[in-house]
């Protein structure tokens, strides 16, 4: 990204990062989360060259707080996160909006994930812009992603409000051509903080001031070039879209060239350019809304239409013409247009049905040698020993795949929820709850959101075991550094989970080795039967991160199958149950086989065979 050519292929996220550079940012903070991670990653790459401070903050709320501080001191700042991250940061956002973001400029980028490709929900984060009454911009293609980010900084600086830029997975992660401009070479010097960076005693006055600012933003949005209209004479139908749905809409409209369909794509979606929209609605008889995820524009424009002499007929998610859930695509728009135009689509045969038996599933699985598999294998064993009386409240990370691993994980919600739910389950004995409780979290998640839950469990004497799977990296999103990582840059200070946990003073604390299944089973079995708050810090390994750090690295314990001891298809535990991609079943010979090119030689599977047929090789 140093010296890009004039026309460059960029992902939506790269384009957003580029826009921030062209706007002259000096500060970026983020917490990794798909599909937003690459925005800050791109800025990390140029941080030294450009003299920018870039950090992976402990969580999204902290990220927003540190960037607000920079903006108040006059340094333009970018704060990027995924959809669910904005939930975490929203508490601060709904105060910051009233105080204002100062002279530097603060742009918050949120990347929503329709269909939840990499998320546990498919929330629409645009409603936060409405709740906070801050300007919202939605880029509709890759060029826009860069340009709108730059524009967001202009608006933020001018009105001293934080501006929300909202992308979705398909824009953030697809790539297209972007014409780049120059990176701003503005010198960034701090200025004194302005007065009253708090909203008491009269938040309602601050609220009024914010609403006045938004009136002025709305005026300006009326003329914005980010709102595009392609109108056709005597149009039968007007399509209103935002975000990447604009490309789907264009493509679908093109398929009905003879049908006179107009198209309005909105880039400034809060506040809306009301006059411009009303004018267009006056000329339209029917309107179709195409947007991801919720009927955000649809609700706003429907409510605005009461001011019209004659309102058009509205169609979209609220009328069932567009599905209210899942991801948008061209087919969805084509189907809606066909319905509205009263036409039959030459339907492609339902081919899938004829060949269903050929389409074997491809389940998600832990990597070869992943110690999370060892952990869940141990949990499964302990659960059997306890006659099934064990509940696992899980958390967000690679180890979330525990829900697919023989349902070894029973609950999974927000970052940090595992220990919070455990803290509740651990107080239910008096009502007859008789299962042991294990809460699970990874190391990055521990720092992000587990401390309040853990302290609550300690304070209330909840009866549970908290297992921290510590592989010392943010593995799920690409090995970002966090406070507990063993290797830190020279200007970062490591914070040790062990010391934090000991300070909370659990009734029992032990460090375990997640590479050793036998010891982990006995540690878990004995621990869950103790009373009170137990914490296990399990030293874990991300094999992908290990190989990234030490190219070509492989473990020291190769394994072989002793065919004399193997009980073959009568057992199959190693291949069918343990499920390591390197230990597979050969249905020709009816023996398990170790795939040398997949095996990381961790030796974990030796403990899995009840007949001792998996041996350490040479």
């Amino acid at each position: 990204m140093n010296k890009p050519k004039r026309n460059t292929i960029m992902s939506g996220n790269e384009a957003i990062a580029r826009g921030a550079l062209e706007a002259g940012i000096g500060f970026c903070a983020s917490y990794p989360g798909t599909p937003s991670t690459e925005i800050a990653m791109n800025l990390f790459e140029v941080a030294v060259d450009q003299g920018i401070h870039v950090e992976w903050s402990t969580n999204e709320k902290v990220a927003m707080e540190v960037t607000a501080a920079a903006s108040w001191a006059g340094v333009p700042a970018l704060c990027s996160m995924k959809s669910l991250g904005l939930n975490v940061a929203s508490d601060f956002l709904l105060n910051l909006n009233l105080s204002g973001s100062g002279k530097g400029g603060l742009v918050i980028v949120v990347c929503d994930d329709p269909k939840g490709h990499s998320s546990s929900n498919e929330q629409d984060s645009r409603f936060y812009a409405k709740a906070a009454k801050i300007p919202l911009l939605e880029p509709s293609n890759h060029q826009d992603a860069k340009d709108i980010t730059k524009e967001a900084f202009r608006i933020s600086r001018k009105y001293e409000v934080p501006v929300l830029v909202r992308s979705t997975t398909r824009l953030s992660h697809s790539r297209g051509l972007v014409q780049v401009g120059n990176v701003s070479s503005r010198t960034r010097k701090t200025i004194g903080l302005h007065e009253k960076l708090y909203n008491i005693p009269s938040p309602h006055i601050r609220h009024r001031e914010l609403l006045e600012k938004m009136e002025r933003v709305a005026e300006e949005y009326e003329e914005s070039g980010f709102n595009q209209v392609k109108s056709t004479e005597r149009a039968k139908l007007l399509v209103i879209s935002s975000g990447i749905s604009s490309l789907y809409s264009q493509e679908a409209i093109q398929a009905f060239e003879s049908e006179n369909i107009s198209h309005m794509n909105l880039g400034t979606t809060n506040p809306l350019p009301r006059k411009r929209i009303k004018q267009l609605l006056e000329e339209s008889e029917r309107v179709l809304f195409v947007e991801e995820n919720d009927p955000f524009l649809e609700e706003a424009i429907r409510s605005l239409s009461v001011e019209l002499k004659k309102a058009p007929e509205f169609f979209g998610k609220m009328t069932g013409h567009i599905p209210s859930y899942g991801e948008m695509n061209t087919d969805v728009v084509l189907d809606a247009l066909l319905k509205l135009l009263g036409k039959d689509r030459k339907r492609i045969e339902e081919q899938a049905r004829n060949f269903e038996d050929l389409l074997i599933e491809r389940p998600l699985t832990f990597c070869a040698g992943c110690t999370h598999r060892n952990f869940y294998w141990s949990i499964r064993t302990v659960k059997k020993r306890l006659g099934g009386k064990l509940i696992v409240s899980g958390d967000i990370g690679c180890y979330s795949l525990g829900v697919f691993y023989d349902e070894a994980m029973d609950t999974m919600h927000a970052m940090g929820s595992g220990i919070g739910i455990g803290s509740g389950l651990g107080k239910l004995q008096r009502f007859g709850f008789d299962s042991k409780v294990v809460s699970v979290a990874g190391d990055s998640t521990f720092f992000h959101a587990c401390m309040p839950g853990l302290i609550n469990a300690r304070h209330k004497n909840a009866d549970l075991t908290f297992a921290i799977l510590d592989n010392a990296t943010t593995a799920m999103t690409g090995y970002q550094v966090h406070p507990g990582s063993k290797i830190q840059d020279e200007n970062l200070q490591r914070v040790q989970i062990e010391k934090l946990v000991r300070a909370i003073d659990p009734d029992f604390f032990a460090i375990g080795d997640a590479t050793d299944i036998k010891s982990m089973i006995s540690l878990l079995y004995s621990t869950v039967q103790k009373n009170g708050l137990k914490v296990l810090l399990l030293n874990s390994v991300c094999r992908l991160e290990e190989v990234k750090r030490k190219p070509g690295f492989i473990g020291a314990i190769p394994v072989i199958i002793d065919q004399g001891l193997c009980r073959r298809e009568k057992c199959m535990i190693c291949a069918a149950d343990f499920g390591c991609p390197a230990l597979v079943w050969d249905s020709n010979t009816n023996y398990p086989v170790v795939l040398a090119h997949v095996c990381v030689q961790c030796g974990a599977c030796i403990a899995v065979c009840p007949h001792n047929a998996i041996l350490e090789g040479e």
Binding site: L247, E361, L401
Partner: protein
Amino acid sequence: MREPYSILVAGVGGQGNLVCGRIISEATMKQGLRPIVGDTFGASRRGGSVVTHIRIGTRDWGPLIPRGKANIILGLEPVEALRTALRFAGKDTIAIVSMMPVPPSNVTSGNVRYPDLADIKKALESICQQVYMLDTEPVMKKLGSTRVLNSYMIGAFSALDDMPLDSKYLRQAILDLLESEMDLTAFNEGTQSLL
């Protein structure tokens, strides 16, 4: 060229889908056209299905191909090629498929049987205009690594008639992005694979 020209690359995590998208989009840009590349994959870092959608035109098209509208399917894996074809292939689609399976974990665990390649071929032929099933395993053995399968498949694609991209741009993109002799050799081998 009738636009958009739409290419799907169907494979499994780790097979180099995303690199395919990068190479073809780079070549598209070199030719003065506009590429849009969308990748769909789930939360799995390893082992899940990956589908790359490439749209080529004089303007930007949606990053997901509509049902039945793929011009080309490059199948890096047989079952994944069929999975994609059932949704995105139509009577104009040409499928080029590597016959080397990457069995999913439910197959390697012995719980599910991988379908016969002949059945996959028959299914593809009933949907697509034309199907090339390439016996890639011996070629990859000869070249020394399955990692160059994607360059080989791009080579095969470059040899098609009525293909909008100039083969020299694809070759150049492989050189620029991968800087690997082995990939270039695989590309060259691929250009001969449809004969």
